[in-house]
């Protein structure tokens, strides 16, 4: 087990470096003039250019620039933007909101998706089964921002007036994030339901389930312990890697609901050409994604004793 973890961690390093380097090169190397539009209509004064070139190491070759940036990042220094705002500070104020949003989305998709999957997997071909199949198909086809806009339109003050759908405060409460979280998780919810349904339907006829029933175990224990534990493995994989993509996907949801999170920050960073902001956040998101996929692999061994890592 220890050796396996170590090997996986070593494999992560080239992937992490490659991904972040590509982003770094796209942001810094391809645009011809990093100072275009930075000083209004006039060209930038020489003193400003030399100061900034010094700060961002523009005079070095790209690889060296990247290595210096990564070196700073590893010591926890995200650097400053062109206007001298600390990127680390900005990220630390925006990050909790996005994490909250992603976790809420994950909980909603997990709970609703698994429940729907179990109910339909146990009883195939019924009305409920068809209902879930059709609605998951529909959710899969609906782009996230359409779900968001439609729910905002019809649940908000202009529609049924059920709730305040805009989120304007810098630190939104859990209640305000439930609707955005639902929207963000809606697509994955459909997949969780389908994966669970497939797993349950496949394992329902397995020998160990028949044994458990024959032993006289109550139905809730057969389903809740024997059946679920074996059927949920693909679902756990999906949910784990999904947390990473939910954070990236939050850009759209945060835009629809005006939430001040990582998504808004990175979108503004790209439009204002604040490269340090963009690379900082992307690095963080890539790290989250890679670590989540590692954790998911290790969870396998916990959930399914048949899997051994040597």
């Amino acid at each position: 087990m220890g050796r396996y973890v170590l090997r996986r961690l070593l494999q992560l390093i080239p992937v992490f470096l490659g991904t972040t380097f590509i982003i770094y090169a796209l942001v810094w190397a391809i645009p011809q003039d990093p100072f275009a539009g930075k000083c209004g209509q006039r060209p930038c004064p020489d003193s400003y250019i030399s100061a900034m070139s010094d700060k961002f190491n523009f005079d070095d070759p790209l690889v060296l620039q990247y290595l210096k940036y990564m070196g700073n990042l590893l010591t926890g220094d995200f650097g400053d933007t062109f206007s001298g705002i600390s990127v680390g500070e900005q990220i630390s104020t925006a990050y909790p909101t996005t994490v909250k949003l992603a976790v809420i989305a994950l909980l909603i998709e997990g709970i609703i998706g698994v429940t729907a999957g179990v109910l339909t997997g146990l009883r195939k071909q019924g009305f409920l089964d068809n209902l879930v199949l059709v609605s998951t198909l529909f959710l899969i086809s609906l782009p996230v921002f359409v779900t968001g806009f439609v729910l905002r339109l019809y649940l908000g003050p202009q529609g049924l007036d059920l709730m305040d759908t805009g989120v304007d405060t810098a630190d939104p409460s859990i209640g305000q994030l439930i609707l955005p979280g639902f929207v963000l998780g809606s697509l994955s919810m459909a997949y969780v339901a389908r994966l669970t349904r497939g797993g349950i339907a496949e394992n329902r006829r397995a020998d160990y389930v028949r044994t458990a029933i024959a032993k006289g175990q109550p139905n809730s224990r057969v389903v809740g312990v024997h059946l679920l534990r074996n059927s949920l493995i693909p679902v756990i994989t999906f949910l784990g890697t999904d947390l990473g993509s939910l954070m990236g996907g939050a850009i759209v949801t945060e835009g629809v609901f005006n939430i001040n999170g990582i998504g808004g920050l990175i979108f503004r960073g790209i439009q204002e050409k604040e490269g340090v902001m963009v690379t900082g956040i992307v690095t963080l998101l890539v790290l989250v994604y890679l670590l989540m996929s590692l954790i998911v692999d290790l969870l396998y061994a916990v959930l399914d004793p048949r899997i051994r890592y040597e």
């Binding site: 494999q11 490659g18 993509s245 990236g248």
Partner: protein, 323 residues
């Protein structure tokens, strides 16, 4: 890629599609020798009786017709704006109403099919081509080549889809120029394909790993067939099924991704007409004029739905376990 989002927008979609497709890799049409019918003709028999398959084919046919001959459906010029019609709601004259520029929403939705479909089609072709070539090579080559190629794919898969697309598209979009329609579409197609090919590659690779252990491949090698011949004559026909299923679902996902990118203001834009462009134009007006958003969004949803249904049906038909 982690997110085509339709999900993530699309990215989650593809990933999950890929997860389902993985099960297919054991599909082996070599069994056809004992039976009179091949895997594909078996699947075709199964499919013809499925209502979802027929429905999705009909929808796709109509959308393709829209894209090829928009004038069959409308005679209104989608680029003719009359500001007197500013944000008018649907009426007998204009079934879907008018937008901010006084464009006819119905005419634009019909003409928009071409842009959206082209992006979906070309991104799928490019994704599947790159993914399959790299995947089959990685699966068949020596193990260190496989490791290097797989890690190389991981690099692109590690970038969240929406995020990666934003960075790529803003980098190559110089705001001062006025790019042509072809250039805009090419940019969007390339950025989708660059971020999605690892998914196709993983499917192809795992299918190849299974297929190359089969006896007929060993026999072919024993008879002295060249690696190229083994790959094209023996491996490819037996690994193409899961990738085709993925491609069908991905095509729908990419149409959704086009809409998402346009919504963020970085995908297709005028002078191109597409559903995504219409959706992004409606962004600031959707509370005053929901019809501007709902009609193109409905077209996107129905088209994506058709492709996802088609992919699901084909996958079920190709999977011998489900029969």
């Amino acid at each position: 890629m982690s997110d085509p989002g339709a999900a993530s927008s699309g990215s989650g979609l593809e990933q999950a599609a890929a997860a389902g497709v993985g099960d297919l890799s054991h599909v082996d049409s070599g069994q056809g020798q004992n039976k009179p019918r091949s895997l594909w003709s078996d699947a075709w028999r199964e499919l013809r009786r499925k209502p979802t398959f027929v429905i999705s084919l009909v929808i796709i046919f109509i959308v393709v017709l829209m894209a090829a001959f928009p004038t069959l459906f409308t005679s209104v010029d989608p680029r003719y704006g009359n500001l007197d019609n500013y944000l008018k709601t649907p009426s007998a004259d204009a079934w879907f109403g008018y937008d901010v520029q006084g464009y006819d929403v119905y005419a634009r939705a019909i003409h928009g099919a071409r842009g959206s479909l082209l992006v979906g089609l070309f991104s799928t072709i490019l994704t599947v081509l790159i993914g399959s070539v790299v995947g089959i090579f990685a699966g068949y080559a020596k193990s260190w080549v496989d490791s290097v190629l797989s890690r190389f794919g991981d690099i692109f898969a590690g970038v969240p889809f929406v995020l990666g697309a934003i960075v790529i598209l803003t980098t190559f979009n110089t705001p001062t120029e006025n790019p042509s329609a072809v250039r805009i579409i090419t940019q969007v197609v390339f950025s989708i394909a660059v971020l999605s090919w690892p998914v196709a590659m993983r499917i192809m690779r795992s299918a190849t790993l299974v297929a190359k252990q089969q006896d007929y491949v060993k026999a072919a090698r024993g008879l002295g067939a060249s690696p190229l011949r083994i790959v094209f004559r023996h491996l490819l026909p037996n690994t193409v099924a899961p990738v085709m299923v993925y491609a069908t679902i991905a095509l729908g996902a990419f149409i959704g991704a086009e809409a998402t990118l346009a919504f963020l203001g970085i995908g297709l834009r005028p002078p191109v007409v597409s559903w995504g462009v219409m959706i992004s134009e409606s962004r600031d007006y959707f509370q005053a004029a929901p019809h501007m958003l709902l009609f193109p969004a409905g077209f996107v949803t129905i088209t994506v739905l058709a492709f996802v249904m088609l992919g699901d049906a084909v996958r079920d038909a190709l999977d011998p376990k489900s029969r």
